[in-house]
């Protein structure tokens, strides 16, 4: 989900990174290459194997609706576990400490539980094939078409950006050619999703989930051993913070909520209200409950109980993810070293760009570099070392914290496993994008607006072809981004622009019988326009951030969360006002769509330890305990 990638990665710095890195971070051995090749062979084998089980539209687009709760749950959480996320949030943890954990806990867990217990019955009972499909049933074709077209566009462009970002990371980490990475990954994705449809995408996401944990878990384990455990890590971070300039107070690295009372008291420049309302409610609920990319995975569950249980199972793993993302970032802060044994200090992409080296290993533009370093947290010694050139002079960015930690600890074979985990993360993200695009294109655009009378096999063929076309357009988008870097910012903003009004439309549609068709359509459309206008306002006039986030001390991270909140409020007000001015649908028409107008099917009783409510309570208690422990 690029929309939740930290701003350092989302700000279009990847192309700059590409131009600068002369020497790759890692060199793979034969064993590492073998590990990567085996992964590619496996995903293509799965695609060919599943081809025979993807003949009808229900099988191809909905995986036959026969996934168990565990498979749907792991696929659900895995669709979000992309490599840009892993690297970006590890870098954010290096920079901001455990504040970054908010995007894994309050930014996910409440929404997942809500989806499982409250929303899933409506998605499942209505037998919709997509989120735009639900909007069609609830608000009619106009609202559904707006959602479908915006979602399909977003998916395909995101896939291109994802593809390009992966190629850049492979170039920086391994020195691989950009076109090689783009072509190999896109051919593999087109093959296995085109052959096996959603079932193949889901299988590979579960495989990727296992790979990511298998490849990344070793880094924090070895890091903690070397740092002397959690106490040793804390002690060394506090010590390092005293020697850095412009850094944050050391103990701020270990508090989730304590310093969120004002924008200026924490390094992210956010306020608790933005974290709770913008991130915890709008962005999180918008993504986890209305973004079809993830909801599609749960819709593939074999019965309602499995569909409700899947997000709850996923929430346990989401809660544990900071162990392989946030912890390596914190460990990097104290363990990364230069060749001479001195501490390696990572910086922002802007400083890396400003201090680019020439072919002679010297800083190309000394005055620009000095100015950039003066604003960074680099120690005077480290700044001198950069200006002097030579070994260890090249700067690395926060986003390289995770790959640098992998290179530090993982020898032959294990490094290949770690790199495979990153590749798998990228590929499953791409596969998620194209499989969701294919479903929405076929059902909500082609079937709804172009050809309503096709046979089942015709729609499967359209779905397969749309995957090929989608991958081809994604490749085009990847090369477009490569040659026009500024586009990346706009593509990555699409998610945050669409998601808030969509959440308002779905929540009012699902929980308020009075919400009318016209209100849903107008609320969604004007909400998107309002959200896009706020984005462009801040883009063109950066000072507007202080207005959007209600504080002159707000930083870019705050903009996303407050823009989401205002866009939701705007869309909600429009929906309420227009609904009150227009005629509601008869309640009888809302059966299966709206809370209070729907008879939910009775589920077979199960022992308490198999009940979704029991596990939801455990999740909520754990979530609360973690937030209190790291307060």
């Amino acid at each position: 989900m690029l929309g939740l990638v930290p701003s350092a990665l989302a700000a279009g710095h990847l192309p700059a990174l590409l131009a600068l890195s002369a020497e790759p971070l890692a060199h793979l051995k034969t064993l590492d290459i073998a590990v990567i090749v085996i992964y590619f062979a496996m995903v293509i084998w799965i695609g060919f194997y599943l081809k025979g089980q993807s003949n009808t539209s229900e099988e191809f687009f909905m995986a036959g609706r026969e996934m168990t709760a565990w498979i749907a749950g792991l696929s659900f959480v895995s669709a979000n576990l992309g490599s840009l996320e892993l690297m970006g949030w590890a870098g954010s943890a290096y920079q901001y400490g455990i504040l970054a954990t908010h995007w894994y806990w309050i930014g996910a867990i409440p929404a997942m539980v809500f989806l499982g217990l409250v929303m899933m019955p409506f998605y499942y009972v209505s037998k919709t094939h997509s989120v735009p499909g639900y909007l069609d049933l609830r608000y009619g074709r106009a609202a559904s078409s707006v959602a479908a077209i915006s979602f399909a566009t977003e998916m395909i462009l995101m896939s291109g950006v994802n593809m390009f970002a992966m190629a850049v990371v492979m170039k920086v980490v391994l020195g691989w050619d950009i076109s090689f990475s783009i072509i190999v990954s896109s051919v593999a994705v087109a093959l296995y999703v085109g052959l096996g449809g959603l079932r193949s995408a889901i299988f590979n996401e579960v495989l990727q989930f296992v790979l990511i944990w298998g490849g990344a878990l070793l880094v924090p384990i070895l890091g903690l051993i070397q740092a002397g455990g959690v106490d040793g890590l804390k002690r060394q971070i506090m010590h390092n913070m005293q020697t850095m300039t412009g850094g944050v107070a050391g103990d701020s690295y270990f508090h989730l909520w304590r310093d969120l009372g004002s924008f200026s008291a924490n390094p992210m420049g956010v306020h608790w209200s933005g974290i709770v309302l913008g991130l915890g409610f709008v962005i999180s609920f918008g993504y986890w409950t209305t973004d079809f990319l993830v909801v599609q995975r749960v819709l593939a569950a074999h019965n309602l109980r499995a569909a409700r249980m899947a997000p709850i199972i996923a929430s346990f793993f989401k809660m544990a993810t900071p162990f392989i993302v946030i912890l390596p970032g914190l460990l990097g802060l104290v363990l990364l070293q230069n060749g001479d044994g001195s501490r390696r200090q990572l910086v922002g992409e802007d400083v890396v760009t400003a201090c680019a080296m020439n072919n002679a290993g010297q800083v190309a533009n000394v005055s620009v570099c000095q100015a950039a370093m003066a604003k960074s947290s680099l120690t005077p010694d480290a700044q001198q070392k950069v200006l002097a050139g030579g070994p260890d002079a090249e700067l690395h960015s926060y986003n390289q914290a995770l790959p640098l930690m992998m290179v530090r600890y993982l020898g032959p074979g294990l490094l290949g496993l770690g790199i495979t985990a990153l590749i798998a993360g990228f590929m499953s993200g791409m596969a998620g994008n194209v499989s969701a695009f294919s479903t929405v294109w076929t059902y909500d655009i082609y079937k709804a607006l172009i050809n309503k009378r096709g046979s089942d096999s015709h729609y499967v063929l359209v779905g397969r072809l749309s995957i090929l076309v989608g991958v081809a357009v994604s490749i085009g988008a990847a090369y477009l981004v490569m040659h026009a870097h500024g586009i990346m910012d706009y593509v990555q903003a699409l998610f945050s622009i669409f998601i808030a009004p969509l959440l308002a439309a779905i929540l009012f549609g699902m929980f308020w019988k009075r919400a009318t068709k016209l209100a849903g359509f107008i609320g969604l459309l004007t909400g998107i326009v309002f959200s896009a206008s706020l984005f462009m306002w801040v883009k063109v006039t950066p000072a507007a951030l202080a207005v959007v986030a209600l504080s002159p001390d707000a930083k870019p991270m705050a903009e996303n969360v407050f823009r989401a909140w205002w866009a939701f409020c705007f869309a909600a007000i429009v929906i309420v006002v227009v609904s009150l001015l227009t005629k509601p649908r008869p309640v009888a028409e809302l059966d299966g769509l709206v809370y209070g107008a729907t008879k939910l099917p009775r589920e077979e009783p199960v022992p308490w330890f198999k009940s979704e409510y029991t596990w939801a309570i455990i999740v909520v208690v754990l979530f609360a305990a973690l937030n209190i422990i790291f307060w």
Partner: protein, 70 residues
Amino acid sequence: MHGSKISIWFFIGVLLTAYGVLIAGNGVIDLVMGKLAPVQLAELHAPVWWGGTLLALGLFYLIKFRPGKA
């Protein structure tokens, strides 16, 4: 996802077993030959125990979810 169809867990078993054999095998050879990889904490021989863990997990899934098992 059971019965005549191959379970996803079987595929995972195949992959983990292959990785376990390669990584643990290489780690054991290095251990026997007294070779240390040029990484931090190489003396802990992570490939041996981590590769061994992957192998054990892989074999578990491979056997438990093998095709044709009722």
